[in-house]
């Protein structure tokens, strides 16, 4: 009985509502249309559009990870680990940039 109980307990997880998933989707679509709009119609602001496109992409990625991938409701360890991985990638990024800037 005890084992069965623990199995049920481990599945007594947060169930995301359909409404929340739909809301997330609406947000992601709006961000996509925004980034296309800026790129197609804001052609004069070249460097700014690259930065904006990457910023919007990162917001979208965060929304997907946080809501669709359930990080918001998962135990803290998952958020800690993804932060470590992204920090590691940032270190790689900075090292590559420094390398090319100092050649």
């Amino acid at each position: 009985m005890k084992n069965q109980h623990s199995i049920e307990e481990s599945h007594a997880e947060h169930i995301t509502s359909y409404r929340e998933h739909f809301g997330t989707w609406v947000g992601l679509i709006l961000l996509t249309l925004m980034t296309v709009f800026i790129s197609v119609f804001g052609a004069d602001l070249r460097t700014i559009t690259v930065a904006t496109a990457l910023l919007i992409a990162s917001v979208k990625a965060l929304v997907v990870a946080y809501y669709f991938m359930h990080l918001k409701y998962d135990p803290r360890i998952y958020r800690v680990l993804i932060t470590i991985v992204m920090s590691l990638f940032t270190v790689f990024l900075i090292m590559v940039i420094l390398d090319y800037l100092t050649r």
Partner: protein
């Protein structure tokens, strides 16, 4: 004396938490894999800005936009499929998973048409037109085919996993109390979406 022997995993051979952590660890390696490719892209683009801009005009922004919307929608349906199964509604879950697979197929069909157009123009690495391009544009197309190709491979693998999950839900092996395989396939599918979120502006939206 009837000693009851209990296995450490309580004989169920199923550990949702460990399974999920294993999936996430794998996804971290995927992030670093694509992350490395994005670094290569960043360096070559910064060295060949005008060539990348010129080469990017060969891509169709609207096809890319359509595929972005399709992938985002499929991410929603797979997330909803998990909610449905958690609530015990396996029929709805299966329906939502088929919608996800349909989206995956749509994505691949669009990709097929995009790549076919490039082949016709001889833009695949090694083809005549490609060989005459300046180096910067060659780099763009090498990266384009490698990165969207690797991503497309992930779409195929993710789709296969979701098909497997559909049949396991039908046979009852994946159910309300045992849905980690569905959740892991969903996580993988979201990662496919996540990577496309970056591929789309970097290859299609250079203007």
């Amino acid at each position: 004396m009837n000693h009851h022997f209990t296995l450490p995993n309580s004989g169920h051979n199923y550990d949702a938490k460990a399974s999920k952590m294993g999936m996430w660890l794998f996804l971290y390696t995927e992030l670093i894999l694509f992350g490395g490719l994005f670094l290569v892209y960043m360096v070559y683009r910064s060295l060949n800005q005008d060539a990348f801009l010129l080469a990017s005009f060969n891509l169709n922004v609207w096809m890319g936009t359509a595929n972005t919307i399709v992938l985002l929608t499929s991410s929603m349906t797979v997330a909803m499929a998990i909610s449905a199964l958690q609530k015990g509604d396996s029929k709805k879950s299966i329906f939502l998973l088929w919608m996800t697979i349909l989206a995956a197929l749509f994505f691949l069909v669009v990709k097929y048409f995009e790549w076919s157009a490039k082949f016709e123009h001889g833009l695949f690495p090694g083809m005549d037109h490609f060989n005459q391009l300046p180096n910067g544009e060659k780099l763009y197309f090498n990266l384009y085919f490698f990165m969207t190709g690797l991503h497309g491979l992930h779409v195929i693998v993710g789709g296969i996993f979701i098909v497997i999950v559909v049949f396991k839900i039908k046979s009852g092996k994946v159910n309300k109390d045992r849905y980690q395989l569905l959740e892991n396939s969903g996580l993988y599918w979201h990662l496919v979406d996540l990577i496309w979120i970056y591929l789309f502006p970097l290859f299609y939206l250079i203007h």
